[in-house]
C-alpha cells in the first residue's frame, strides 16, 4: 500500500473527530498489521471502490468511543449500546468521506459502500483485500483507538 494514502485517513479522522466530537486525538506512528484481530471493543468498517480498491476500519476502545459519542450527542453515554454502534457507523462513513475527498484531489475516483459495525472483545476485521493493513494508532485521555486501512494499487 502506497504511503501517500495514509495521511488522508489520518487527517480525515482528526478532522471528523475535532469537528463533530470536539476531541483532539493524538496520532502515533503507523505500523503494518498482519492478522485480522480488531484492537478495540467496537469497530466500523467500510469498503472503498473505484480506481483504488480497499477498506477502512476504525476500532475504538470503550473509553474513547464513550467520550466521543457523549460529546457528539451532548448526553453522557455509559455503555456500548445501539446509539454507540450507530455513531461508529456514521463516524466511519464521515472519515471515509473526508479521506476520499483528499485522495480524489490526487486524481483518483472513489466511492464507498455502507459501513458495518461490529462490537465485542477480540472481534475480527476482514479487509476487502485480505490484508496486510496499515494501522494508525490514536490516543485520547479516555482511551485509545486505531484507524486500520488496507488499500490496493491504483488501477
Amino acid at each position: 500500500m502506497d504511503v501517500k494514502f495514509i495521511n488522508p485517513f489520518l487527517e480525515g479522522t482528526i478532522e471528523v473527530l475535532t469537528t463533530m466530537a470536539f476531541v483532539k486525538p493524538r496520532p502515533g506512528k503507523p505500523y503494518l498489521k498482519k492478522n485480522n484481530l480488531a484492537k478495540g471493543d467496537v469497530s466500523g468498517i467500510i469498503g472503498i471502490t473505484g480506481t483504488i480498491k480497499g477498506s477502512l476500519a476504525l476500532s475504538f476502545s470503550a473509553g474513547s468511543i464513550l467520550k466521543i459519542v457523549s460529546n457528539m450527542l451532548g448526553e453522557e453515554m455509559t455503555s456500548i449500546n445501539g446509539d454507540i454502534r450507530d455513531a461508529v457507523g456514521e463516524i466511519t462513513n464521515m472519515v471515509s468521506g473526508a479521506a476520499r475527498k483528499k485522495i480524489e484531489a490526487m486524481g483518483y475516483s472513489l466511492s464507498a459502500s455502507l459501513p458495518t459495525v461490529v462490537s465485542g472483545k477480540e472481534h475480527s476485521i476482514m479487509h476487502v483485500l485480505g490484508g496486510p493493513s496499515v494501522v494508525i494508532p490514536f490516543e485520547m485521555d479516555e482511551g485509545a483507538f486505531v484507524v486500520d486501512v488496507c488499500m490496493g494499487d491504483p488501477q
Binding site: 478532522e15 471528523v16 469537528t19 463533530m20 459519542v69 457528539m72 450527542l73 451532548g74 448526553e75 445501539g82 446509539d83 450507530d86 455513531a87 457507523g89 456514521e90 462513513n93 464521515m94 471515509s96 468521506g97 473526508a98 476520499r100 475527498k101 464507498a112 455502507l114
Partner: protein, 128 residues
C-alpha cells in the same frame, strides 16, 4: 418571525445522526426541531405539520434525500420549502444533481454548529 424559532425537520435514517444534528442546532440556538427517519416519513410530516425548514441526509433507504427534494419541489404546497442537503462527500455530480433539483444549499459532513447555523441563516435571509 425570529429565525431561531423556525420549525426544522431533520431527516436521517440514523437516529444518532439526527441527535447529533439536533445537538448542533441547539448550540446554534435552534430548539424547535422534529425528526423523520426517511423521505417517505418526512413527506408525511411535511404535509401534516407546519414545517419552516428541512435538513435532509442524502443516503437513506425507501426515499433518498434527492428524491425527497424532488417530491417537495413538485408539490404545489411545499415547493418553496427551504431545503438544506447533508452529504458525507462533496461529489461534483451529487452537488450538480441537487442544485438542478432546486436545493437551497448543501453541507458536507463533518461540520460545526457555526457552519450549520450560518447556512440556515443565509437561506432564511435569501428567501425573505
Amino acid at each position: 418571525m425570529d429565525v431561531k424559532k423556525i420549525k426544522i425537520l431533520v431527516v436521517d435514517d440514523f437516529a444518532t445522526m439526527r441527535k447529533v444534528i439536533r445537538n448542533l442546532l441547539k448550540q446554534s440556538g435552534f430548539e424547535n426541531v422534529v425528526e423523520a427517519e426517511d423521505g417517505v416519513l418526512a413527506l408525511k410530516e411535511l404535509k401534516s405539520t407546519k414545517i419552516d425548514f428541512v435538513i435532509s441526509d442524502w443516503n437513506m433507504p425507501n426515499m433518498t434525500g434527492i428524491e425527497l427534494l424532488r417530491a417537495v419541489r413538485a408539490d404545489s404546497e411545499l415547493s418553496a420549502m427551504p431545503f438544506l442537503m447533508v452529504t458525507a462527500e462533496s461529489l461534483k455530480e451529487n452537488v450538480v444533481e441537487a442544485v438542478k433539483a432546486g436545493v437551497n444549499d448543501y453541507i458536507v459532513k463533518p461540520f460545526t454548529h457555526e457552519v450549520l447555523g450560518e447556512k440556515i441563516d443565509k437561506i432564511m435571509k435569501s428567501i425573505k
